[in-house]
Every structure is written in C-alpha cells, then in structure tokens.
C-alpha cells in the first residue's frame, strides 16, 4: 500500500519552504560577509591598499596588546551607555504622555515621532552645527540679549556627540516604551487605584514594572546603535571624541589597512553581539521586534 504524504497546515516542510528565501538572503548578505571579514583578520597587511592572503595572527596580537584599542572600546561602551540611559530618561515621559493622553488624534503624535526619519540622517546631524556653533542660534541669541560676551563652546566635544545621538535615537526609545505601555491592561491600574493606591503609587507598582521590557528593549537598541555610530562623532565631535567606529573607518579608509580594519570590525561585532545575547537570554527579542514594528 502506498502511503500518501499530504501537506498539513503546520507541516515543517512548508515552514522551511517559507523561511528558505530569508535564510538564503541572510546567508549571502549577512553570514557570508561576516565570514569574509573574519577571514580577512588573518591576512597580512603589506602597504596601504595592498594585503596578501598569507595567514598571520599579527592583527589580533596588535589588538590585544595595544591599549589604544581597548581604551577606545571602553570609551565607546561608556558613551553608548550614557546615551542609552539619557534616551531612557528623556524618552519615557513622551511615551507615557502619548499613551496616557485622551487626545483624539493620538496618531498625530506618533506621526510626529516618525517625521524626523523623513529627513536625511546626515542633514539632521549637520543641523546641530547651525544650532550649537559659535554663530549658531543659541550663541547668537545669548550674545544679542547680553547674557554672554563670548560664544559658549558647545560644538566639537563629547556633549555635542551625545546630543546628536540622542536626537537620532530618541524616537526608537519612545516607540519601544509606548508599545510596551500599550500592552498594559488598564484595568490593572484602575484596580490598584480602587485598592487605595495614589496615582504615583499605581505608576510605581503597576505601570512602570509592566513597561520595563519596552524600556529595556529601547536601552539595548539605543546602546547598540550609539556604540556602533561613527558619522555623529565625525561631524559633531573633535578627534578626541571619536568612537570605535571611527577607528574602523580610519583604519580601512584612511590607512587602507583592511586586515586590521576587519579585526576591529569583528571585535565591535562580537562585543555588541554579546550585549544583545545577554539581553535575549533574559528578556527575549520579541519586545524589540514589537517596538520596531509598531
């Protein structure tokens, strides 16, 4: 007797078929390039723009023995963490406001969050030069009103870099927290209030704990994006305010040293991947997906 193998709704073969195109894309456009980069870390640098495939561990040796690189890595993690925390503090309140408001056209508020994405990231970053610069809006206004005599040095320092990254990352944080707040059953807050909680207590005991997954997802996202950024430090910072991404850029584009540049890229990938893995282990990725997908 011939057994007929019929397709079922949850047939694993169907699942594999549906997932196959994405898998192929991921392998060719993510896994393979990273593998090539990893291979490059063992290539030998000859001179600017020239390398050979003679295998060496010199690049890794240089990375592990030269404190210049570890110093920049730590600094990058510090700046990334500060930016993420500031995003968390500054982003929670607008998210809470959008969630709690009874304004009929809430979609308009959400649209306002997305509007900045319609303008080029580089132009948005450049705009800070016209705001923070010596002849920028703030300095000109302060001098005109006689509050200061000399322009304040607000540009080309770490503060300007963090400000630029806040500008770019805040919407990600707000959206993540908002999605998390939207998932809260509002009757829980009513129940807390009916049991004698003040508004502040209800927020502290119910709303805040239940929105923490969104906050954590936002923190991770902002941290990874800030730590991997190089355009903002390039435009708004001085040389001293460079981050690890700028080191990679200079090594590949300036020194034309691809093997060392590949080594630094893999290091940043592994370090940021480690933080993402820790987050996934304890919180899961679903919250970030929700936050990004709306």
């Amino acid at each position: 007797m011939v057994m007929e193998r019929r397709w079922t709704l949850y047939d694993p073969r169907l699942a594999w078929m549906l997932v196959a195109p994405v898998l192929v894309l991921l392998i060719f456009f993510l896994v393979l390039p990273i593998a090539v980069m990893a291979a490059y870390t063992f290539f030998t640098f000859v001179t600017a723009g020239v390398e050979t495939s003679a295998l060496t561990t010199a690049n890794w040796h240089e990375f592990f023995t030269d404190s210049y690189y570890s110093g920049f890595l730590l600094k990058t993690l510090r700046v990334g963490a500060i930016t993420a925390l500031l995003c968390g503090v500054l982003g929670y309140f607008p998210a809470y406001f959008i969630w709690a408001t009874t304004f009929r056209h809430k979609w308009l508020l959400l649209l306002l969050l997305i509007v900045p994405f319609w303008i080029s990231f580089t132009i948005r970053t450049f705009s800070w030069i016209n705001i923070l610069g010596e002849q920028g809006v703030i300095n000109v206004a302060l001098i005109k009103f006689g509050i200061i005599n000399e322009p304040l040095p607000m540009l080309y320092n770490e503060g300007a870099v963090i400000l630029g990254m806040l500008h770019f990352l805040l919407p990600y944080m707000i959206l993540n927290v908002y999605v998390s707040l939207e998932g809260i059953d509002r009757t829980l807050i009513s129940a807390a209030r009916s049991m004698g909680c003040t508004s502040a207590q209800a927020f502290r005991e119910v709303t805040l704990p239940l929105s923490l997954p969104g906050l954590a997802a936002g923190l991770l996202l902002c941290f990874v994006l800030a730590a991997g950024s190089y355009v903002t430090p390039q435009l708004l910072g001085s040389g001293r305010d460079a981050l690890f991404g700028n080191l990679i850029y200079d090594t590949i584009m300036g020194e034309l040293n691809w093997p060392m540049g590949a080594t630094l890229s893999i290091v940043l990938f592994v370090v940021l991947g480690f933080f993402a893995a820790v987050y996934t282990r304890y919180m899961g990725m679903s919250q970030i997906v929700k936050g990004l997908g709306g």
Binding site: T47, A48, G49, V50, Y68, F72, I129, G133, E134, Q135, P153, L155, Y156, Q234, S238, G239, R240, A242, N246, L247, D250, T251, I252, M253, G254, E255, L256, N257
Partner: protein, 380 residues
Amino acid sequence: MKLTTTKRLERLHDRHANGDLSRRTFLTLTAAAAAAAGLDMPWMRRALAAVQEVRFDGWGGTVQDAIDKYAFQPYTAKTKLKVVQGTFGDEDEIITKIKTAKPGDYQVIHSSGVNYYIKYVNGGLTSEINEANIPNMANVLQPMIEPFRKLTPKLSAVPYDYGTTGIAYNTKVISPEEAKEKGAALLLDKKYAGKVGGYDDMTTRVWYAALATGQDPNNIKDMDTIWAKVRETRDLAKKFWSSGAELMDLLSKGEIVVTDAWSGRVAALQDQGQPIGYLDPAGSYAWMEDMLILKGSPMAECEELINFMLDPATSIAVAEGQSYPPSLDPTKVKLTEKIEKLPAFDKTGTMKSLTFADPTYWATNEDAWTKQWNRISKGA
C-alpha cells in the same frame, strides 16, 4: 562584412565535409560556439555595445562645479558622451571603493598627484594611456609629467592642475602684517587656541610641523619633535576639517580664524566676499592633481575626454573656475591675467619656486606616519 554565427557554423561544416578540418577540431569549435551562444546574455550585448558614458570621480564643491561647467557639459554637447560624476572628500575613500568594485566601474579620478599615484600603482589599479590619443599633452608642463613617468614609464595619469596648501586667516581677527610676520607659526600661536583649524591629513600635518621645527619636509631628521609639534597644533585646534566644503564652512562661519587651507578654496571664499586672507609661507606645501584613468576603463573614450579637458580654452576656463592654475606650460600657451594672479602660479614653467613632496620619500613613510597621525588626532 560581419558574419553571423549561423554562417560561421555552416562554413565550418563545409570545411569539415570537404576534409579541410578534422572531426575533433570541428567538434571543438562547434562546442565552443554553442557554449558562447548559450552564455550570451542580454547584459553582454549591452556591455559590448558602444560606450555611452564615462565615469568621473572628483573632489566635489567649487572645483568639480568648474570642471562640470567648463569641461564636461561642453564635451557632452560635442560628443553626446555623458560624464557620470561622483565625489569624494578623501582620496583614500575612493581607493577603498575602487578596490571593492569591478574594473571599469570607476574610470577617471581627479587624483592628488604622485603621492597617491603610488597607491594606485601598488594596488594594480593603473592603466596604460596611449599618449598619441592625447595630443594636447604636448602643452602640459614637463616638470609635472616627469615624476609620474619615473614611477610608470607608460602613464596612467595626466597632470591637470596644481596648487598649494598655505595659511588662511580671518582678516577681522588677524592682520595681513601679523600673518606675514608669523607665517606657519600662526598655527601654533596660543593666542588663537580653540580657533585654529587644519586639514585632517597626515602629509599636511607632518609638513607644517617640519616647517615649524625648521626641518626639510622631504628629509626629516627628527620625527619625535615633529610629532610633538603635531600634538601642539592638535591641542590648539578646534577642528581638523576633512573636505573642502567643511573648510569653507568653518572659515566662513568664524568657527576657526586660522588654518592651513587649499589655495583654490580660499580664492572661492574671497570671491564670495568673505574676510579671508591667504599666504604661502616659505616651503609651503605644493601639490599637483591629475586625471587618472583606472584599469578596465574604456581607454579611447577616457583619453578623448582628457584631451578635451586639456584643450587650452577648456583648461583655462576650468582653471579660472576652480581657482587653481592649470598644468599648461605658460611658455607654450598664453594664459589669462586671472590665472597669473592665482596663488601658487609659476610663470617660469619650471615649478622650481614650489616645494612638492618627494613621492619616494613620503611613500616609504606613509603607512607608519598615517597610523601615528590617526592616533594623535584622537588624543593619543
């Protein structure tokens, strides 16, 4: 008369039938033809079709605007051949892109002279120009061509313009007398701490440190004092700029009041009425630029384009537009008064009044010094 594939096969068959061709040879040729026909793709036909455009990559801004307006647009009008343009802020950036692209994707580069020519040569990216196709090369200054020919007897590039990296200063803050008196030392004047700028480039930084320490930039004896001076400038600097546009922005907005600067960009600012002065101190860094044809480019079309660009009328118009003297020999071609007044212009045609970087010396030290400069610029 062109033969079709079918006709060719029929002839082969006839020769085989007549005994002129062995069976093995006939089958081999037929198989090769079949494979070629089977592999024939629509894009191959397009690729083999006549060249419709040439790709050019340059420095953008006022320089490229002038090249586009006075060379490319008239060239396209004359030949119907389009010049597709790209820009870069730093030539290493475009070299990286060329390395990752297919030969022919990038074709003509407005390159920074012999120092960079070595990088293209080392990277196996150069082509071989048929100079007979560029008759206007006869007017190009021989002292500009010679350094290229020393590296590759068969040229891949043709010198096009030259200039200097001198000192630009805000005349509202620094008087021309003070600038003349202090010269390159202005970049190290503590009075202007936090208002100093500079090109984010190893060669420029080391060159000016050599001048500040009284050393010959083409034969530096004490690198420790050089790096100490580079650090001194870094600590006084507000920002090291990385493109001509950024230089102009920083100077015109008053963010910096003194910087080393490209003569042509300063001339462009002066044309806009900005209060910017310029001087070339003794030993000022002179450089030349060339039109480099990359390997894999459509040579005949690229050579034709460069020949058009070197035509005296075109070259003079571009030079006036970009404010850099052309590579034309002033003893052979009558240049305009405006060009003769440009900074760095050498009326003798010998280029002896300008100090260029010795390409061999700088190429020897390039890797180590670039790495060290990158570190110092980041606070090391």
